[in-house]
């Protein structure tokens, strides 16, 4: 499914908000959305929420033979999946350009910066090494999947434990989790990305854009950095022109953000370790916030609208009297009527076209209760395809007027008395037309 295009007024609205340094969710320019990290019961499984954006990372490993060019190094593999689950705009199966770019960025960010010690993943040089595979799935897309994915990948890698192995001569023994405690990976550092979105030809920038902001932005700069203030990857893309000091400023902001994020990840990891030690329940289901109904009734929120009302009164006072317009309804033919005296209705060619039999019958036995019922149904019919829905007749309790006096012989006027009779039976009449 193709993504629905953004309407111009939405675009203008967001751009205006950015210009006035306001964001729709009340954040400041350099603020991240709320980051929440939850770990699964298994090692190496982690869900990261960044506002409404949510990604899942799962690390797994297996023994493989190494690449011939690097016989004593383990293999790291990253895969970011953008499935239609996250957003209907993502296609199933085939990788889009965006997905490929993100995958490459992940690789560049985590693999080329050597965040994980690959040499410690070697079992027998040239024969057996660990392949550590990180699969990241986007569960919900509300902008800035990249940052969330990188956080998830880092957290999952840090959380992961691989089975222990021992080598005796040529023999490799693989211990199951029950036999021996699995060992964590050696993590050198945590490269985290900060995404900057640029607006108004690079004059405005935002950190952690939401989906709406992402769709409006002109370009973005991605800075990957670790807490030692080392840049691990840098990528400006999307057709913006930047000045050198803009880049430097961004890297400065990123260094602050990365410290905060590292702190959050570390704390989440510690909490998880603590929870496991104490034997508390852990896992994704546990970590989801429980939404319970705690009150039985809803209280009305008190809204002070004095000011608004006063201003409205002022406006009304100042306003000119609207020109007198007559809300006359002209009946132009069967199923066709016109409000006011605008252009001549061209829908009906012959003004003196004979009425349908049903209607004529109806005109004959007016006053009859049956007739009113029929008429009510007639109104329903009319409302389906006539130009003007003649609802006014219900509002005026005294006179039900289907057509205007211009066509004298068609006039159906029910007296107030008749209607009173009807109104007692009103509830019995199957009414699909809303009474007002």
């Amino acid at each position: 499914m193709k993504e629905t295009p953004l309407s111009n007024c939405e675009r203008d609205f967001v751009l205006l908000a950015v210009r006035e340094k306001k964001r729709l969710d009340g954040r400041q320019t350099y603020d991240y959305r709320k980051v929440r990290i939850a770990f699964g019961t298994e090692y190496g499984c982690c869900v990261v929420e960044l506002g409404k954006t949510r990604v899942l990372a799962q690390v797994s490993c297996e023994l493989v033979s190494p690449k011939p060019s690097r016989p004593s190094e383990g293999v790291l593999f990253f895969n970011l999946e953008l499935s239609p689950m996250a957003s209907p705009g993502f296609e199933q199966g085939r990788q889009s350009e965006m997905a490929i770019e993100m995958n490459r960025l992940l690789e560049r960010c985590l693999r080329s910066s050597r965040s994980v010690d690959t040499e410690s993943l070697c079992v027998i040089s040239g024969e057996k090494v660990w392949q550590v595979r990180t699969d990241i799935h986007a569960l919900n897309h509300d902008g800035n999947i990249m940052d969330a994915a990188v956080i998830a990948a880092n957290a999952a890698l840090a959380h992961f434990r691989r089975p222990d192995v021992t080598v005796q001569g040529e023999e490799v023994t693989l211990y199951s989790v029950e036999d021996r405690d699995p060992v964590p990976l050696t993590i050198h550092h945590m490269p985290l990305t900060t995404t900057f979105a640029f607006f108004h030809e690079g004059s405005r920038l935002l950190v952690d854009p939401t989906r709406l902001e992402e769709r409006v932005m002109e370009g973005r700069l991605l800075v990957a950095m670790n807490k030692h203030r080392e840049l691990c990857a840098l990528q400006a893309s999307g057709g913006i022109r930047l000045l050198q000091d803009q880049v430097l400023r961004c890297s400065h902001v990123a260094s602050v953000k990365v410290l905060e994020l590292t702190e959050i990840i570390q704390r989440a990891l510690e909490n998880d370790v603590q929870a496991r030690k104490e034997g508390r329940c852990c896992g994704l289901a546990e970590s989801l916030p429980v939404q319970r109904v705690t009150v039985a009734c809803a209280h009305d929120a008190v809204v002070n609208n004095e000011e608004a009302r006063r201003r409205a009164d002022e406006v009304v006072k100042c306003a000119e009297e609207p020109a007198d317009t007559e809300g006359a309804v002209y009946h132009r033919g069967p199923h066709t009527a016109q409000v006011g005296e605008g252009l001549v209705n061209s829908w009906v060619v012959d003004d003196n076209e004979p009425k349908s039999e049903e209607e004529q019958e109806e005109a004959m036995d007016d006053g009859d209760l049956e007739g009113v019922k029929v008429e009510n149904e007639e109104v329903e019919e009319l409302s389906d395809d006539s130009v003007v829905i003649l609802e006014t007749q219900h509002r005026a309790p005294n006179v039900v007027q289907l057509s205007d006096g211009s066509e004298e012989d068609e006039v159906i006027i029910l007296s107030g008395k008749d209607l009173m009779n009807v109104s007692s039976d009103w509830s019995r009449v199957p009414l699909s037309v809303p009474p007002c």
Binding site: S112, R114, R229, L234, R241
Partner: protein
Amino acid sequence: MAGVELLSDQGYRVDGRRASELRRVQCRLGVLGQADGSALLQLGNTRALAVVSGPHEIRGSKSKALHDRAVVNCQYSMATFSTAERKRRPHGDRKSIEMSLHLRQTFETAILTQLFPRSQIDIFVQILKSDGGNYCVCVNAATMALVDAGIPLQDYVCACSVGFVDETPLVDVCYAEEAAGGPVMAVALLPRSEQVAFLSLDSRLHEDHLSGVMKAATVACRDLHAVLSRIVKETLQEATAGE
């Protein structure tokens, strides 16, 4: 990082250059007669052929057309024989698609696309010989091809890669320096306004060194711009003198 000394004590690099020295640039415009614009550019041992066609009607599905500007379409491919180890596929792998995407993003900023609504500009770049700095050579070659095709540009787009070894930025890194695993930054610059059209960095670099590396890249791009514009002028002079 083992073994090779990338920067000797005397300040020379593995191929005998100084730290801020570019490799030799050779370029010829209009090498292919059929295309609207073409250029063959060689930077040291890296050689790229760029072909530009357009602006022309959108090919394929018309839904790609943009009502207010031209679509820029890039394809990057590497000849199977361009690297020391034979490549299996010339294009279509992740790296080539990423490179195509980067090229497209770079040139979308530089080409005055708003002048050609509902049309398409194709840029095809082929690496014939690879010795480091593929992205940069591609950008420079594509710029020259665009100039040859007469497509209005904001400015020349000059790209240069910069490495960083022993506290010194190394300009225009070759394959040996790239493969050593140090940080490499590729910058595409519009030299007149000194605006960065594209930026990418691999591997670790301390933030404090960022400004130094960027400055070196800016200077290198400006040098390249001087060389490229001289080549264009010479080509023009030859063409007009011939008539």
